[in-house]
C-alpha cells in the first residue's frame, strides 16, 4: 500500500518536472503573454492591455528599429518596461525637444538600444535614463489581444423611427 502511494507520488513528481521544464522552454524561447500597465505607450497600448511578446527575435538578434519591445527595467531587474525601439547601436538620436533652439544629438553606444514610449509627454524612457544594453530586452511585442468587454446598452430614445 505504502509502496503503491510512493510510486504514484514519484510518478506525479516526474510529470510535474517534465511539464514544468516544457513550460519554461516555451516561455523562454517561444513567447509569453504580458499584461501592460501605465500610459506611456498610448494610443498603441493602453492600460490593462494584454499583448503577446515573442522571444525568438531577441535570441536571434533580429530586433529592428520601430519594434515594440518588453525589457527589464535598468533600475529594478524584477520590473519590466514596454517601449518602442527608436535607435539601435551606432544610430544618431536627437535628444532635444522640438521647441529647443539648439538641437542636441547623441550616438547610441555599441551593444545598446534607445527606447522611447509612444506617449512622449508621459513616459520615462531613454530620454531620462539613457540607452539600455541590448541584453535587457526580453521579447518583441507582436500581437495585441483585443477584447471588448464593455457592452454599452443603447439609450432608449435612439431607436429608429421613434417620435
Amino acid at each position: 500500500m505504502f509502496r503503491h502511494m510512493l510510486g504514484k507520488t514519484l510518478g506525479l513528481l516526474g510529470y510535474t518536472i517534465q511539464y514544468g521544464c516544457i513550460a519554461h522552454c516555451a516561455f523562454e524561447y517561444i513567447g509569453e503573454f504580458v499584461v501592460c500597465s501605465g500610459p506611456s505607450m498610448e494610443p498603441t497600448i493602453v492600460n490593462h492591455d494584454v499583448v503577446f511578446s515573442e522571444r525568438m527575435s531577441r535570441h536571434l538578434f533580429k530586433i529592428e528599429k520601430g519594434d515594440i519591445v518588453i525589457a527589464k527595467s535598468p533600475f529594478d531587474p524584477q520590473m519590466n518596461i514596454c517601449k518602442r525601439v527608436i535607435g539601435l547601436e551606432g544610430d544618431k538620436i536627437c535628444t532635444s525637444s522640438p521647441s529647443d533652439l539648439f538641437k542636441t544629438h547623441t550616438y547610441v553606444p555599441m551593444g545598446h538600444v534607445w527606447l522611447e514610449g509612444d506617449n512622449l509627454r508621459n513616459s520615462t524612457d531613454s530620454r531620462n535614463y539613457g540607452p539600455i544594453p541590448y541584453a535587457l530586452i526580453r521579447g518583441r511585442v507582436c500581437w495585441k489581444v483585443t477584447h471588448e468587454f464593455n457592452f454599452k446598452k443603447e439609450p432608449e430614445g435612439h431607436r429608429q423611427g421613434s417620435l
Binding site: Q18, C21, K72, P74, P77, Q78, G111, P133
Partner: protein
C-alpha cells in the same frame, strides 16, 4: 505461409513504431529538462583571456581554465562584493564576460580609469572589474552595468 509472413511483418512494424514513439517521448523529456537545467541551475564553460589573472588562466600558454557557472545561487539577484560573476557584455550582447563585483547599488566607487573620478552606482546596477588591471574590459570602460544573465563563477581545477 502467407498468414505467418503477414503476422511477422505486423509485429516488426509495430516494434518499429513503438521504437519511434519511445524515441519521440524521450526526446520531449530530455531536451526541455536539459535546457531548463542549463538555464536555471548551472553549466560548465571554458574561460578565455587574461583579464582575471592570476585567479583564472594564470599561465598564458597553457590550457584555459574550466569554471562552473552557478545560476541558482544568484536567482534573486543577490551577490556580495568580491564575488566573481559572469554577465552579458554591455558592449557585445553575444559575449559573456567574467569579472569580480567591486560595488553594489548605492556604493560610491573611486574609479581607476573611468571618465569620472567618483561614481555612485545606480539602483539595479553593479560595478565590476577584472583582477588584471589594465588588461580588462570592465566598468572602468563602460561604467556601472545592469548585470544581465548573472551566474556565480567557481573554478574547477
Amino acid at each position: 505461409m502467407r498468414l505467418k509472413d503477414g503476422y511477422h511483418m505486423a509485429q516488426q512494424t509495430s516494434a518499429g513504431r513503438r521504437y519511434v514513439q519511445t524515441f519521440i517521448s524521450g526526446f520531449f523529456v530530455a531536451v526541455p529538462v536539459t535546457v531548463t537545467i542549463l538555464d536555471k541551475l548551472a553549466y560548465v564553460a571554458r574561460v578565455e583571456g587574461a583579464s582575471m589573472q592570476p585567479f583564472l588562466n594564470p599561465d598564458a600558454g597553457a590550457q584555459s581554465d574550466v569554471v562552473l557557472l552557478n545560476r541558482w545561487s544568484v536567482r534573486n539577484y543577490q551577490v556580495q562584493r568580491g564575488d566573481i560573476v559572469s554577465v552579458v557584455s554591455p558592449r557585445n550582447p553575444k559575449q559573456k564576460i567574467i569579472k569580480r563585483v567591486i560595488g553594489l547599488e548605492g556604493d560610491f566607487i573611486r574609479t581607476l580609469s573611468y571618465k569620472n573620478r567618483y561614481v555612485r552606482v545606480p539602483d539595479g546596477h553593479l560595478w565590476i572589474e577584472g583582477d588584471h588591471r589594465g588588461h580588462s574590459l570592465d566598468s572602468n570602460c563602460f561604467g556601472p552595468t545592469p548585470a544581465e544573465d548573472m551566474a556565480l563563477v567557481t573554478a574547477i581545477r
